[in-house]
Symmetry: C2
Subunit: 314 residues, 2 copies
Amino acid sequence: MPVRTIDWVDGAVELVDQTLLPDKLVTLRIHTVGELIEAIQRLAVRGAPALGVAGALGVVLADGDPGRIAALRAARPTAVNLAWGVDRAAAHLNGGREAVLAAALKVRDDDIAACRAMGERGADLLEGDRLRIMTVCNTGGLAAVERGTALGVVQTLHERGRLAEVLALETRPLLQGARLTTWELARMGAPHRLIADSAGPYLLAKGGVDAVLIGADRIAANGDTANKIGSYALALGAERAGVPFVVVAPESTIDQGTPSGEHIEIEDRGPGEIVTVRGVRVAPEGTQASNPAFDVTPHDLISAIVTEQRVIRP
Amino acid sequence: MPVRTIDWVDGAVELVDQTLLPDKLVTLRIHTVGELIEAIQRLAVRGAPALGVAGALGVVLADGDPGRIAALRAARPTAVNLAWGVDRAAAHLNGGREAVLAAALKVRDDDIAACRAMGERGADLLEGDRLRIMTVCNTGGLAAVERGTALGVVQTLHERGRLAEVLALETRPLLQGARLTTWELARMGAPHRLIADSAGPYLLAKGGVDAVLIGADRIAANGDTANKIGSYALALGAERAGVPFVVVAPESTIDQGTPSGEHIEIEDRGPGEIVTVRGVRVAPEGTQASNPAFDVTPHDLISAIVTEQRVIRP
């Protein structure tokens, strides 16, 4: 990735506006917490690890204002990493701006190292030489800083010559799979095919997949995992097909304060994203919609959780 | 439904062009088998029962030409009703055009009666008074002639005052749920919400659904059912949630010549429908895609199959 997804450059947060991909690669410069919250809520920056870095860097922009910090921390409810990143930087508020900035940059650098470690541990965990991987949403460099989580494992497999193909779910409503994952896979030269979300469980049943790899937005203490809507359906399909279902996420995604999945708040992003696709209306005027952005996969359907430190088998 | 989805009017086939809904209600007049095949392949007319009627009426247009009849019969591979409708009318070719037309009109009238019967039998089968129904694709009047199959049951429930709400899957890639099912439900005044396909299994797990009702494109002798892609994922979700999963389809959908689901040919409609949504590109240029239009739900996941004659418990 020649461009970091998010970084601190010359006194401001710089981030790739992911709503414009794959059509345009545009980097935004962000100087205020208000601008950052707006970027987070419209998903210009998204992905649990990247949100952790955004949270930490945002505290630098907040100049110690407790109201701004609290608003940033609550900008999206499901991903625990955002609040975690805010808290890591905010713990250094007493040390002044330089201390906060140093802590935030450490969050960034730790993410880079963690994603590299997850990629290697995940690739070591999987067996076989011509692996066909299924994944949902975008968990690549665009969801982190340099390399990603689940797609970081794919990247490592590809670098090791062990990747046959990726089946990428398009990931309605916002099509992160169609727009972002295909874009990243093309840049890394990895063979891939795009599929409708609903085709995932069926293609698992047909036997063409060796492993499902997903990221996570929050992992409860018992291993129940909140991730992009559609993850649970893949877990059901993987279980029935006997295919390993592996979550790849940094330790910061594990929330020991949440005992199980039923306690995870699931963000509903409203009907607009469902009744339109990239600005084109697809349903009659006045149609009501539900739009849960995440679902919860119960721990009994998860084969392994790979972090930068360990492999957990829930 | 003030307009029949498909009918024989003044010496031609008339059908609603479903690719233009919900924006425009346009009726096409079709005079040749070539035009009819084109309409079938671009899904201007779709839905297993409507395809049966299209097949039968198309034989009238074929004027006894065996090549035209064979091409019509093979226009789409997965829905058995198309071939069945062709065969029903073609059996009367020796009787001349009037005999073929009479047979084709009987296919049409039988469908109208069958859908009414399925609606009543399905509504009788379900228990409860404020039912929340989940469905995929479009199985309403637009998939048949006047009333539909699974959505025909919904219509009967609504007429009996027993329907609380329908959760309609949008049904990528061609969005029949978003475009057609919502349109029909609005016209019948039935409360409904649109959801992304991948949200179906999760909302089943959350406990807000009393039954899943789907149609069928082909039912194998052992009960395995081919239906719109995404049906299998709903079946997995329904099983885990303990929610009845009911197939509603006419007897003509049951193919005793196909022993089980693995023998059903699944149409792949090519990458175009996946990399675009209603004409808008959603993936980078050059992206490869797989596009299975149907999947197969194994019979052990099906609670009941409701036809115009009986309830089958596979």
